[in-house]
Symmetry: C2
Subunit: 223 residues, 2 copies
């Protein structure tokens, strides 16, 4: 009943819905999923019609996840992050290689696989990118962070996580030392949107372009 494609819709609705599960538009979904809007409408209509009700959909008013839909979506996020950590720590994948493989496999691993992987990793809390790994039976959301792009100047920040969507960006972030746990201060915001950032209170100031800055989530608590 739940295809790979449905999985992708559920994950996208979860991620686009933000901390408060706001309604997600057809357009936003189409863009995120790389399909055309009529395909989204069609899929939402089908999802909203079928038995284990996963989404609430009203035409022209967007879509939200039901409790069941949210459960499946968080399950996928858990699978993804556990797989990333497993690929990195056990199979020795590099930081930027884990995303694609995890994205493919997250749909197909069983409960047992998930449990055993979690066990051999010591029931970890964070994936290699710093994202919290949600636990079963709670939503485990971490959304009280900001992107580096919008962090105030001169306020100390700790990188809590980075987006895992793009291998080239990840390599660049790693090269710059912008990895989870790193402490930094934003010294200056250029007109282009690029940032001048001082790492670990040291003397060096590095330039972080706008696109990259949006991939870095910061807080001010060490983990």
């Amino acid at each position: 009943m739940i295809s790979e494609s449905v999985d992708d819709y559920l994950k996208a609705i979860l991620e686009l819905g933000g901390a408060h599960d706001e309604r997600v538009t057809t357009n936003a979904l189409a863009e995120r999923l790389g399909v055309r809007t009529p395909s989204v409408t069609g899929m939402l209509q089908k999802l909203a019609a079928q038995k284990p009700l996963l989404v609430l959909y009203e035409k022209h008013r967007g879509v939200q996840l039901t409790a069941a839909g949210k459960r499946r979506a968080w399950e996928l996020v858990r699978h993804h992050r556990l797989l990333e950590l497993f690929l990195h720590d056990v199979l020795k994948y590099s930081w930027d290689e884990v995303h694609d493989e995890a994205e493919r496999l997250e749909h197909f691993i069983s409960e047992r696989f998930e449990d055993r992987v979690s066990a051999i990793l010591g029931d970890p809390e964070f994936d290699p990118h710093g994202h919290a790994i949600p636990r079963k039976d709670q939503s485990g959301v971490f959304r009280d962070e900001a992107t580096l792009a919008e962090w105030p100047l001169h306020k100390p920040a700790i990188i809590s996580s980075v987006s895992d969507r793009n291998a080239a960006s990840l390599r660049e972030l790693e090269r710059l030392g912008l990895m989870p746990g790193a402490a930094l201060i934003v010294e200056q915001r250029k007109s282009s949107g690029a940032l001048a950032v001082r790492l670990d209170g040291g003397p060096e100031v590095i330039r972080v372009n706008k696109d990259l800055a949006f991939r870095v989530l910061v807080g001010n608590r060490q983990r």
Copy 2:
């Protein structure tokens, strides 16, 4: 271009074709794959028409794999057996739990995943059921064995592998001690097809039903 479904057809053709890649019939494929014969005909026609030619198909005369088709099929077998060993040895799955998970995942793991798993397992030669794990760039076939059901009476045999298709049978085989490496002699062949088998030259004679005996492959060389 290669769907999960195509994968299943290729594997089935490989397995049903035997040691000499004999032509496989539409009927045999339909039965093995659990689909109706017209579905098989349709798929074979499509496969035989498309660009990376995977099968040779003549209507009413069955189907065979091309070199490319064989390469993909053996790759799947390698994936399957590596995954089984990995699930058993690393994730601590029991003997009878590995098949289904491996069957699902074998389609989706990457070259890199395959290589890394093989590496952490020490580039193993056999899976937990005793089947040889084929290596890249060679066909690595092991087909000089016989089923226990057809082994001569009183001739010493070593179990080389067991079929991994059925969890209940696997548990029964394990309970009886019929696992890869076990030495035995067939004492008697009942009219029902059941066997009376003496394990390790000991005094105990166990009864092995016909169905089970067909799942056990034996040779007379210790591995």
